[in-house]
């Protein structure tokens, strides 16, 4: 426990929020005690050494981890992030400190027997430290040595029926919002689509054949609780085509104050009496709502399904019943060219379990083909779209251009006409021209 002094880290033990330092200390202690007599396969003081490294970083303001190098399991191009300490003599316990990405179950529901099995494995063959979860969605097993990688993979697959997730230039571990499992607004079964595509694209997930990483995320509605629109090369966001379902009695109950707006999300302050005009009608971005004579009317043709009114009056309003999803493409973090939000490619597609999601795969696969053909090394889909233009993506996917694809039409007139679109083509004779126009 006192292998390294950690005065700076110790200061993070106080305060109300759960202290990761305290948790590390408890783990270090548990490993030291080893009440279950685990035959630790990596150094028993790994956690202490990690604390030592971290304390050093706190003192200096610099990381002490080096580039990964290529480590992994046989036949897979991802799932492991190699990591080495740059002061291995001081901190031998973390000289090697690779992480493994374990593909989380869709929706991140668990049964405790599974979790305990995972803990046992990681106690035995790793640091006993995890991230629940990584920001892509995986279960992150933080820190083990190279010889353990195949062993862990073997036990995961053989004993736990569990595969690794993605890393490298391939499909990354897809993830989803809780959706229909516990949310009244989900327009399709996010868990099933996430699971099914993960299975169907195992090859793309494990064997890097792409120019760079590629992410799927699945949100059941435009609230985007898994942030798909901001973080996924392809975001599948639930939506509907028909009318918002209205329960006029419940509307009245909101107006009357019997029901609390926004599922009581504002209970922490007295915001005064609910005012349907101010809180719903006037905040509707399309101005397509009216509340007159105790009746709420929605001009659904003009509604953009932004969710605001539904969010505020969940007991009175529900998404329509003709549901499906919109597909947005190209979101990514800022490296190299600035962050990108997903851009709407498919306004609406059915999410059809029966067909094995064929309609959706018919969008995915041409995109991959185009990107694999045209994409440069380490070029994300969004970057390729920027470089080659949205038009080329439309051509590659066979989708017709429509105003829904833009927030506004171009304001520059620099249109690249194709030769076949222009009467007479591009080939002309300068001498003919010079007959009409002397030099």
């Amino acid at each position: 426990m006192t292998k390294h002094k950690t005065p700076l880290l110790d200061e993070l033990e106080s305060g109300p929020w759960p202290s990761f330092v305290s948790d590390m200390k408890q783990e270090a202690e548990a490993r030291a005690k080893n009440v279950n007599n685990v035959e630790y396969q990596i150094p028993v003081d790994v956690v202490e050494d990690l604390m030592g490294v971290l304390e050093l970083s706190f003192a200096e303001g610099e990381t002490h981890w080096k580039h990964g190098g290529i480590v992994g399991v046989f036949g897979y191009g991802g799932g492991v992030i190699g990591r080495y300490c740059d002061q291995p003599q001081k901190f031998p316990g973390v000289a090697h400190f690779h992480t493994m990405r374990v593909n989380q179950p869709a929706g991140k529901f668990y049964k405790t027997d599974y979790l305990r099995q995972l803990c046992d494995l990681w106690d035995f063959r790793g640091s006993g430290l995890t991230n629940m979860h990584g920001s892509t969605g995986d279960i992150i097993l933080l820190g083990t040595t190279t010889p353990q990688l195949e062993e862990i993979f073997y036990e995961l697959t053989h004993n736990m029926n569990q595969d690794l997730g993605g890393s490298g230039s391939n499909l990354r571990t897809p993830s989803d919002c809780i959706g229909q499992a516990r949310c009244e607004w989900a327009c399709y079964d996010t868990q099933d689509l996430c699971y099914q595509l993960t299975l169907d694209y195992q090859d793309e997930l494990h064997r890097p054949a792409f120019p760079y990483k590629f992410k799927f995320k699945f949100d059941g509605c435009p609230n985007c609780c898994v942030a798909s629109i901001a973080r996924a090369d392809m975001a599948f966001v639930g939506t509907w085509k028909d009318e918002i379902r209205i329960d006029q009695e419940a509307v009245k109950a909101y107006v009357g104050g019997e029901l609390k707006p926004n599922g009581n999300a504002h209970a922490g302050r007295d915001w005064g009496k609910f005012d349907i005009e101010k809180e719903v009608i006037n905040l509707c971005p399309t101005e397509c709502m009216r509340y007159e004579n105790g009746k709420l009317e929605i001009n659904n043709r003009e509604c953009t399904r932004c969710m605001h009114c539904i969010n505020v009056m969940p007991r009175a309003l529900r998404p329509g019943s003709q549901t499906g999803c919109s597909i947005l493409v190209g979101a990514k973090a800022p490296i190299l060219d600035g962050a990108q939000m997903g851009s709407l490619l498919v306004p609406f597609v059915e999410v059809n379990k029966e067909s094995g999601y064929e309609e959706i795969k018919d969008v995915i696969e041409p995109i991959w083909d185009w990107w694999m053909e045209e994409g440069k090394n380490r070029e994300r889909l969004g970057e390729l779209m920027k470089r080659r233009g949205f038009q080329q993506l439309l051509e590659a996917t066979g989708i017709e251009p429509m105003p829904q694809h833009v927030s506004e039409p171009r304001h520059n007139p620099y249109i690249f006409w194709k030769e076949e679109e222009v009467e007479g083509g591009f080939d002309r004779d300068i001498n003919e021209f010079r007959k009409r126009h002397q030099r």
């Binding site: 700076l8 880290l9 993070l12 033990e13 305060g15 759960p18 202290s19 990761f20 948790d23 408890q26 035959e39 971290l54 970083s57 303001g61 610099e62 990381t63 002490h64 981890w65 046989f74 036949g75 897979y76 593909n103 869709a106 529901f109 668990y110 049964k111 405790t112 979790l115 046992d120 430290l129 995890t130 073997y154 697959t157 053989h158 029926n161 809780i178 499992a181 516990r182 989900a186 079964d189 868990q191 996430c194 699971y195 195992q202 609230n223 942030a227 901001a230 966001v237 926004n262 504002h266 209970a267 922490g268 605001h308 969940p314 007991r315 973090a333 800022p334 490296i335 190299l336 962050a339």
Partner: protein, 381 residues
């Protein structure tokens, strides 16, 4: 410590190999009330901060108790979570997309015992293990990344500043007094694994010095053309250097073109950027992800640099606290931080939050920068 084989034979890696089986199927892990009511939920309500009820058309109800915590978690802690789930929740538990833990029970009577149990548990150091909260118009857990715990490119730590910030924002984790939900994120370098680019408030680790050049090893450890090509501003050029009497192939960096993105270091370990006083945090504000009312928005840089004052990053947490308080007082109900800033105008945002507007905040990155300058006479004094 003797090596214990799992059964894997390195000589015959393909023997008995199981691959491409994917994750465990989601429905194997559904609590019964979820399995039964999936797709049938009618509405929800937040009973108190951290406690939700969802009501199904079958009449069933599921009560969710959400607890915050570090996503950096030991197996000891996970086992403790399992103990709680076994005791109260028939052995089921889930994690949210923001790394909170959700315990679900199928009856109202089961809620209080669960909460009491959760809130009674503390770490030795005194902090809560399982604080209940993070719902509605409040502040939930911080999405973050590896930082100094595991990554080679960070310009700040992750777990440290997150703990410090959540301590400061704790009351709003336990409350729902804000005008709308407020999402805080952290990414330790601008790879932005935390995807902080669309958060109400984002901490972003940022270097401020160009890479050091390890001439002696560069040609041995890196592909020089790849290193050169990696630089988005073309700041890197090939260069011959004299070293120990030998002429080595290496590179030089045009410091004035460097924007400290670290992409060269990703490609070449002989170009490290980490620098104690140079590195720190960029504070960004006003992003959102949901499509509610307004389209998703990117976060904007509000403070160009805050130092890495470990262990508690007071400059950063002060600035965040200030912004949250001003927002809480000034914004309208349902208005996300970015919607508020846009309505009052950024000139007012800086004034009200008492933040200095420095030249760093004016976009000068590529063509789109132009569109962020003010192209109207409409402004506030």
């Amino acid at each position: 410590m003797a090596f214990i084989s799992s059964g894997y034979d390195p000589e015959k890696p393909m023997e008995n190999r199981i691959t491409d089986i994917g994750p465990r199927k989601y429905d194997k892990f559904y609590p019964p009330v979820i399995a039964k009511n999936k797709g049938k939920w009618l509405y929800h309500e937040i009973l108190e901060p951290g406690v939700l009820v969802h009501v199904s058309e079958t009449g069933d109800e599921v009560y969710t108790v959400r607890v915050g915590g570090a996503r950096f978690m030991s197996v000891s802690l996970i086992r403790e979570i399992c103990d709680i789930a076994d005791k109260h929740c028939e052995g089921y538990v889930r994690w949210t997309t923001r790394n909170n833990v959700e315990f679900m029970v199928d009856g109202k009577d089961k809620v209080k015992p669960l909460i009491d149990d959760l809130e009674s548990r503390k770490f030795n150091g005194g902090s809560n293990k399982f604080p209940v909260g993070g719902t509605g118009a409040g502040i939930t857990n911080i999405i973050h990344t590896q930082g100094w715990i595991h990554c080679h490119t960070p310009a700040t730590d992750a777990s440290g500043p997150v703990k410090a910030t959540m301590d400061v924002l704790y009351d709003d984790f336990k409350d729902m007094r804000l005008p709308a939900q407020l999402r805080v994120s952290l990414a330790c370098c601008l790879n932005m694994c935390g995807a902080v680019h669309c958060s109400d408030i984002a901490m972003l680790g940022y270097h401020r010095k160009p890479p050091l050049i390890d001439h002696e090893y560069l040609d041995k450890m890196c592909e020089i053309p790849l290193a050169i090509a990696s630089c988005p501003t073309a700041a890197i050029k090939p260069k011959k250097v004299e070293f120990d009497g030998k002429t080595l192939n290496s590179v030089e960096v045009n410091n004035s073109r460097c924007m400290f993105c670290g992409n060269c270091y990703t490609m070449c370990p002989c170009l490290p950027l980490a620098d104690g006083p140079g590195d720190g945090i960029v504070l960004m504000v006003g992003g959102k992800v949901s499509n509610s009312r307004t389209a998703p928005k990117f976060s904007k840089v509000a403070v160009a640099f805050l130092p890495n004052t470990a262990p508690r990053w007071p400059e950063t947490t002060d600035a965040i606290k200030k912004i949250v308080e001003v927002y809480a007082t000034d914004a309208r109900k349902y208005e996300r931080l970015g919607e508020w800033a846009e309505r009052i105008g950024w000139e007012r945002f800086f004034e009200k939050c008492e933040l200095e507007f420095t030249h760093h905040l004016i976009d000068d990155f590529r063509d789109p920068a132009y569109y962020t300058w003010r192209q109207t006479t409409n402004f506030k004094f």
